[in-house]
């Protein structure tokens, strides 16, 4: 868990203080294109002579901002959806449950690509569209887990006791049920950030995500793929950044899971 936290700390630090760590990621220098890593350019330069280290560091800011926004939005929406479905049961649960099933049956990336494609045709590519498109598929895992947890929590006697003092359903949901399911949701969110980073990079790699010249790990990968043989570092370093960051969130999430004593089956 500490190792995970350390990695996350380094990435967050890089993202937040990018101005102080790195040079200008946009500065094109055609006389210095495709340089291999050196003391001056730690990660070398790309096909336009931009400093790759700076682009990867600024990329951390883009990826983290998007990933955290997407995770928070899908956590709030998915948890509410699952909580209402599980708590009220009956027809509401039938309808909401089927909606969850439908979303689970469509591969996330395919739906993401389709959504980004359609939306960017009408509105042009923007970070908002990427946030919306990934959150659109990502909330489902929260809904599923929260629904299951609420189903078991609502049978506890303290829920009946709360009803006995005259509390309304909404109040019980807010004060008694949600505090009891917050553990698994936090663990899921931490593990989920890693997946979301991969989703963002996938879209970027396919050219559908953040558009150049904004530095984003997937976008750098995409731009480097034509130079894989002559300048492999263009793909190597952002790829490494993605892998390490995702690993960090996963290690931290699993540590949290053990600390918060959440059953493994619930999350997986």
């Amino acid at each position: 868990m500490n190792k995970g936290l350390f990695i996350i700390g380094v990435v967050v630090f890089a993202g937040v203080f990018a101005e102080f760590i790195a040079k200008d990621p946009y500065r094109v220098d055609m006389s210095n294109r495709l340089l291999s890593p050196s003391l001056e350019h730690f990660f070398g330069t790309d096909q336009l002579g931009r400093d790759l280290f700076s682009r990867v560091v600024y990329g951390a800011r883009t990826s983290l901002f998007l990933a955290v926004s997407i995770t928070i939005i899908s956590m709030i929406f998915g948890s509410l959806f699952g909580a209402v479905s599980g708590y009220f049961g009956g027809i509401i649960d039938d309808v909401f449950g089927r909606i969850i099933d439908i979303f689970l049956s469509i591969p996330d990336l395919v739906l993401n690509i389709a959504l980004v494609g359609i939306l960017s045709l009408s509105y042009g590519t923007s970070p908002l569209i990427i946030i919306f498109s990934i959150a659109f598929t990502n909330w489902v895992s929260y809904a599923r887990i929260v629904r299951g947890s609420v189903l078991s929590i609502k049978e506890h006697e303290f829920v009946l006791a709360a009803k006995a003092i005259g509390a309304s359903n909404l109040y019980i949901l807010r004060k008694h049920i949600i505090p009891n399911i917050i553990g698994p949701v936090i663990v899921l969110a931490t593990l989920n950030v890693g997946n979301v980073i991969i989703a963002i990079s996938s879209l970027g790699f396919l050219g559908l995500g953040i558009q150049p010249p904004t530095p984003e790990w997937g976008e750098i990968l995409n731009s480097g793929k034509n130079y894989l043989e002559t300048a492999p570092w263009i793909m190597l370093f952002p790829g490494f950044a993605i892998a390490v960051t995702v690993l960090g969130f996963n290690i931290f999430g699993e540590g949290l899971r053990d600390v918060l004593d959440v059953k493994k089956e619930i999350i997986e």
Binding site: E157, A161, K163, I165, H176
Partner: protein, 301 residues
């Protein structure tokens, strides 16, 4: 205060329809402690939950529960929420399960004030600490969590929650369950002290407590009231007598047989398969509750 007339409660289950309460008529008078005794599964708790309208969805309720001239069974859910806790409060069984493990006890007492009286958080917590003091717990422990308290302490917290809004009627469902005899004594004395001027329905299977505390005692068997009496010495129904004889100080003689299934109860008097005085008529016809006893033997004499 509270009049129950011809109450019938049924549950639809996969195995069949459970007739948990059958033609129950009972009156809880002002300032009275009414005991409700009977074996496990005879429908005592169901009666308490029916009054509070807290039964699960598969239940079907008929009859009347009149409080302040209104039939509680006909009130809307919103009107009922105003009654719960404020007018009629219930102490559920199992204090350890009825307290939320992730909220401090102070928050759980304060909740009642926050919710009904719309007090500020600070005022609610102050009132909660007053309640703790009243039930004999030092207010210093207000921020502790339920697992840090013993069984008797938790029961005291339940009392504090139930009495926080000064309800007119308290329904106590087995408040001494799982407590040792000295703690039992303390809890009972505390309840007796705090419910002065209130009406209380005390659900229990502890005959000693019922006798010590209650003004009147209703005996329930297989979902029916079989006897209402003010003193166990006047017991007439064979079931009540059987219950008394099963006490250690009366010779520890259990009643033969087991209590009947509520899905397919016996014909006639529900107690006849276990009754040593049964006659032919008992197997055919269910006697009415007359002069507080539901038994043909009593009718004759």
């Amino acid at each position: 205060m509270l009049k129950i007339r011809n109450l019938e409660v049924k549950f639809k289950t996969i195995e069949g329809v459970v007739k948990a309460n059958n033609k129950v008529s009972l009156e809880l008078k002002k300032d009275e402690i009414l005991g409700l005794i009977g074996e496990t599964g005879c429908g005592k708790t169901v009666l308490g939950m029916t009054i509070m309208r807290l039964l699960p969805k598969n239940s079907e309720v008929k009859g009347e529960i009149i409080y302040k001239g209104k039939n509680l069974l006909e009130l809307s859910e919103k009107e009922m929420r105003e009654i719960r806790g404020k007018e009629i409060a219930i102490m559920l069984q199992n204090p350890s399960l009825s307290l939320n493990p992730v909220l401090s006890v102070g928050e759980q007492i304060a909740e009642v004030f926050l919710y009904h009286d719309k007090l500020s958080k600070k005022d609610a917590m102050r009132k909660a600490s007053e309640m703790l003091k009243i039930v004999g717990i030092t207010p210093k422990r207000i921020n502790e969590y339920p697992h840090q308290f013993s069984g008797g302490m938790k029961q005291r917290i339940m009392i504090a929650i139930a009495l926080a809004l000064n309800p007119k009627i308290l329904i106590a469902d087995e408040p001494t369950k799982g407590l040792d005899s000295s703690t039992k004594e303390q809890i009972i004395n505390l309840m007796k002290k705090l419910t002065k001027g209130k009406s209380m329905l005390l659900i229990t299977h502890d005959l000693d407590i019922a006798e010590k505390l209650c003004d009147r005692i209703a005996v329930m068997y297989a979902g029916e009231i079989v006897e209402i009496l003010s003193n166990f010495n006047k017991a007439k129904h064979p079931y009540t007598i059987g219950l008394l004889n099963s006490l250690p100080r009366r010779g520890l003689k259990p009643i033969d047989g087991v209590s009947p299934s509520l899905i397919s109860p016996p014909s006639g008097c529900k107690f006849h398969p276990r009754c040593k005085y049964r006659e032919e008529i008992c197997t055919i016809k269910n006697p009415e509750l007359k002069n507080g006893v539901r038994c043909f033997r009593n009718d004759k004499s």
